[in-house]
């Protein structure tokens, strides 16, 4: 599979099944060097250049977007291919003249090195993600602001600080609360007292009034008791030591009576 079918100008069939995704044109070039089993130091430029272009054609056929980087690299390869056609050393006659491929080779070697280094970092990254340290905690004492090492402060620290300020501002300046005046209706108190009272069991009026939350509620309760008495639902009795007791009568409250009470 070292050469390409010249009659059709297409890639060998086995290329069609696997279409690895490359991180970029240099990755693709390294791949081409590997599958052609050629030495990196002695790249057959014409062959690699043609295959590179055919790969781009394949990407086009598959409707993949070809990034500008590939096109740029393709242009470099054509330029290199043309330089390879020129007789070398013709002008100076020196043998040691630089191989035009030198720069490409250097880039590929460096790229491969960095890929390997990235692989090593990836392994360390996975392992070290598992390490936990003590979380940042407030050290008691004066504001540590004075001791900030400005050398380590980056733009992102500033942005982070600004975000903190905004969060704190919002926390300290919450939107205003609309406090509604509490209203107590006579009917509510009426119903509450009706629920509380059980037959044969008197209710201590002063005790009930004392446990109201505010004066307004106590007033509403008092008015409710007057209603209860008017409708003959309770009997009021004052004991010798001054307690006011409510006794439930046998009468049931009628719906229309309940309706009539102030809501």
């Amino acid at each position: 599979m070292s050469s390409i079918d010249d009659t059709t100008g297409s890639l060998p069939d086995e290329w069609r099944v696997e279409l690895p995704t490359f991180e970029g044109p240099l990755d693709l070039l390294l791949h081409l060097v590997k599958i052609n089993e050629v030495e990196l130091t002695d790249i057959p430029v014409a062959l690699i250049c043609d295959q590179f272009h055919q790969y781009l054609q394949l990407m086009e056929e598959l409707d993949l977007d070809i990034a500008a980087e590939y096109i740029y690299e393709a242009a470099l390869l054509i330029h290199l291919k043309s330089r390879m056609l020129l007789p070398r050393g013709a002008s100076t006659g020196e043998e040691g003249e630089e191989d035009p491929r030198q720069e490409l080779v250097q880039r590929l070697i460096e790229h491969q090195r960095m890929k390997d280094a990235a692989q090593t970092l990836a392994e360390v990254d996975v392992l070290r993600q598992g390490l936990w340290t003590r979380r940042q905690q407030r050290i008691p004492g004066p504001d540590p602001e004075e001791s900030i090492d400005l050398g380590e402060v980056s733009l992102y620290d500033l942005l982070g600080a600004l975000r903190q300020v905004l969060v704190r501002y919002e926390h300290e300046h919450p939107p205003p609360w609309h406090i509604l005046r509490e209203t107590f209706s006579v009917r509510d108190q009426f119903e509450r007292l009706m629920d509380r009272m059980q037959p044969e069991h008197p209710l201590d009026l002063l005790d009930d009034l004392r446990t109201r939350t505010c004066r307004a509620e106590a007033v509403a309760t008092f008015l409710a008791i007057l209603e209860l008495a008017r409708l003959r639902l309770v009997k009021l009795h004052q004991t010798e030591n001054g307690e006011l007791l409510l006794y439930r009568t046998g009468r049931e409250v009628q719906p229309y009576e309940l309706e009539a009470i102030q809501g």
Binding site: M1, E23, G24, P25, L26, D27, V33, K34, I35, E37, E39, L40, A67, E69, E73, R107, I109, E110, H111, Q112, R113, M114, K115, D116, A117, A118, Q119, T120, L121, A122, V124, D125, V126, L127, R128, Q129, G130, L131, W132, T133, R134, R135, Q136, Q137, I139, E152, S154, L155, Y156
Partner: protein, 185 residues
């Protein structure tokens, strides 16, 4: 003269409370000049005490020019469960490649990184800056004055390096390409 065991106790306490690596110099500052030889010894004792061994959850590590206490990596799964941590923010291959280039070739500009990777790196550079693994350290005095990038102290801490000299040596040319023949076609 401070008692040796007292010094050990102090060092252990400082390491326990610190969330960042503490340099030896900072530890030394806590004591008188004449105690300093003892401090160095005491620190070794404390480090020995916190060597990673079975049955202990915490170990001391020397990283980014300092000393700190960390949990053992094998315990990660339990800590994640306890603190209800879900999902992980692993670096992408592109980010790691860019990070490797900056680590080994710093200071380096964005265009130079792009030249080495063959693709644009502005997106991953942003990620690396946000994660504080790299920082901008000035501009190169060439046309366009591009930013120069360097790795940060966080980078050393995250990868467990004492300094940039501890980066693993780059693979040699032969090692990377020696296996070309063996590559299945």
């Amino acid at each position: 003269m401070t008692d040796r065991t007292e010094i050990e106790a102090v060092l252990e306490a400082v390491l326990f409370v610190s969330s960042e690596p503490v340099t030896r110099d900072r530890l030394m500052e806590l004591f008188n000049d004449r105690d300093k030889p003892l401090v160095a010894e005491a620190l070794e004792t404390v480090l020995e005490r916190y060597r990673p061994v079975a049955g202990r959850g915490i170990s001391a590590e020397e990283v980014a020019g300092g000393v700190r206490l960390v949990t053992r990596p094998e315990l990660n799964v339990y800590l994640r469960k306890f603190f209800e941590v879900t999902g992980r923010s692993r670096l992408s291959l592109a980010a790691l490649e860019t990070l490797a280039i900056i680590a080994y070739r710093q200071p380096i500009t964005g265009p130079e990184i792009q030249e080495l990777r063959g693709v644009s790196s502005s997106g991953v550079l942003k990620t690396l800056l946000e994660r504080r693994l790299v920082k901008i350290s000035g501009r190169k005095k060439v046309v366009g004055k591009p930013f120069l990038y360097r790795t940060t102290r966080e980078f050393l801490m995250h990868f467990g390096l004492e300094s940039l000299q501890d980066l693993p040596p780059l693979e040699e040319f032969e090692e990377s390409f020696g296996s070309i023949e063996a590559e299945p076609s």
